[in-house]
């Protein structure tokens, strides 16, 4: 089956809801309306009011009620409409979802999956285009997963739903409908700590995730014949697959990290620290970062100047190669 990202996530939800009656969706406009991105289209019709719950307009309510449901043995899969509105949820994620195991000394845990349409590039209004992965990876007790295409989205979402810890699932909204891939109808899972080597190479390692994968691949294609570039797609940001990263950097001796979020304290900083810890002496050049700037995400007229593009990525690769 050729599916786009919206369809593959929809399929994963449908199959998991069929398999496990405890899987319940909550969110704003996810029922009859099928969600603002149509990710839950048809699920309310199939599963009804008790499985696909249109909530009042309150993000803190959505996450905290989900935490309660998860403690009581259900598998809530709440949706937040846009990334910018997930920020008030940080309190509940940090203080409760991520530490209920600790707070109850192992008696309770919080198996929920918070789905967050993530990142910019869709010409949306203010607060609809943020990249917040570093906020989530900084929370102890939470896993952070981000697919980059229809195939891995399905396998990762199924794994996330079956995981016994809270997972924040960042969906790159910019490519919701931009990529179609073969997605098996049959069940499969992708482990939540495994990065993918998208393309092997020997000169430089480029690390990216989510919507940036597509842009990185386009950029690297332009360098074909000039440099042998290895591309890593992290898929899970926490816990991250450090072995794949370190093995790759030890082989190439050079690395470029690409993300859309602002530079300072971005997730790239963590990756570079990890590389410095475990592969510093293998490096031929300082690790480069291509990121957003330390400014609020611009409105659509300027957002394309903010989001890393092919030119900036290739300039970083050239710089690292010529160091």
């Amino acid at each position: 089956m050729k599916l786009n990202l919206v369809q593959s996530i929809n399929l994963a939800l449908k199959q998991e809801m069929t398999r496990d009656p405890n899987v319940v969706l909550l969110g704003e406009d996810i029922g009859k309306d099928g969600g603002v991105f149509r990710v839950t289209e048809g699920l309310w019709q199939q599963f009804g009011d008790n499985r696909v719950i249109d909530t009042p307009l309150a993000e803190v309510g959505i996450i905290s009620v989900s935490i309660g449901m998860a403690i009581a043995g259900m598998k809530p899969v709440p949706e937040v409409q846009f990334d910018g509105f997930s920020l008030p949820m940080l309190d509940q994620l940090y203080n409760h979802a991520g530490r209920m195991r600790k707070r109850s000394q192992g008696r309770w845990h919080v198996p929920l999956v918070l789905r967050v349409p993530h990142g910019g590039g869709i010409r949306a209004l203010e607060h609809h285009s943020e990249s917040l992965e570093a906020f989530f990876t900084h929370i102890p007790g939470i896993k952070v997963v981000t697919p980059s295409g229809p195939y891995n989205a399905k396998g990762l979402l199924v794994s996330s739903i079956r995981d016994s810890d809270p997972v924040v699932f960042l969906e790159p909204k910019r490519i919701y409908r931009a990529i179609k891939e073969e997605v098996p109808e049959d069940e499969y899972t992708i482990p939540l700590n495994k990065a993918e080597v998208v393309q092997e190479g020997s000169d430089v390692t480029v690390i990216a995730w989510g919507a940036m994968q597509k842009i990185v691949r386009e950029a690297v294609e332009q360098l074909a014949g000039k440099y042998s570039v290895e591309i890593l797609d992290l898929l899970t940001l926490y816990p991250v697959d450090r072995k794949t990263i370190i093995d790759s950097v030890k082989k190439t001796g050079r690395a470029v990290v690409v993300h859309e979020a602002p530079r300072t304290c971005g997730y790239g900083a963590e990756l570079i620290a990890t590389i410095n810890d475990q592969a510093l002496l293998n490096l031929e050049a300082p690790v480069a970062r291509v990121t957003g700037y330390d400014i609020p995400m611009p409105l659509p007229k300027l957002e394309n100047y903010y989001i890393p593009d092919v030119t900036r990525i290739n300039r970083a690769i050239e710089n690292v190669m010529e160091f």
Binding site: D33, L57, R123, H127, D294, L299, K301, L302
Partner: protein, 352 residues
Amino acid sequence: MPKKEMNIDLEIFQILNEDGRIANTREMPQLKDDDIKRMYESMVLARVFDDIALKLQREGRMLTYASLMGQEASQIGSALALEDEDWFVPSYRENGVFITRGFPMETLYLYWAGDERGMKIPDGMNALPVSIPVGSQVPHAVGIALANKLTEKKSVAVVYFGDGATSKGDFHEGLDFAGVFQVPCVFICQNNQWAISVPVKKQTAAETIAQKAIAYGIDGARVDGNDVFAVYKVVKGAIEKARVGKGPTLIECYTYRMENHTTADDWKKYRDPSEVEWWKHRDPIERLKKYMEDEGIWNEAYDKEVWDNAKAQVSEAVKKFESVPPPSPLDMFTNIYEELPPEIEEQRKDFE
């Protein structure tokens, strides 16, 4: 029964009924013919602005747009009750209030076209920019009102939000603080029956939004939001009460969103067309027009003049909007801090 005597009426307060007749002569505010004409002309202007916004959006000249069609009486009736020094704290649907308060229409168009320069509040105007995160602006108005109280200013803060926003913690916390500190703040909930696809009865189990005031110990009122006289009267009363230190009021304007939520939405997925049809007969502009005609202050010639004039103003605004050159990419780096820190300065250089 609450111990303290509170002023809450859960009946829908109406002055001008659906047929354009005065249902409640005693309550009719003292308005000169020119005041009434101003109401009508402002509502027509808002409708034309709205219409053209939707057209520009369809043509791809704007990103998206949140229409106020059907809510003109709530917006214009309330906007005209504010004094110049009063604060206006909007959500994203208050284009009618913005315009009535004299905010440049071309600037609003710029905002909806995704241009940051559209967020610029003119000097001397006490207003906050459009607030997209639903309900988040409610406590800001309370803070402004508290500051006005502590610094003994006579200005009142008026905040707008939708029915959906009443589910947010921000709404609760804002009203709670307002009650505790007895601030000069007026809360205007435009209950347009829908929050995107979610009807108000799924937003709250309470029968009305106005009654929520009881729990915060503040006054509440429920107004026919398609009756410009009723809205004007109740909002004016609440503002003047707040101004003399007699505390905040929650006002529920009972109205209807005639259009899609925004241009990205399709109401046919979740609303019954007969419901929309029912509200069409309660159009706030038509209602006022009937009244004015009966009073002899409306005729065809006047009407043509009003609409032509509104269209001319809006097309002038569209012209200005379209002649604005594209923003400089370097604008991204402005208005972040008073002084740009070295980190961003370096990033800006790198960008160039």
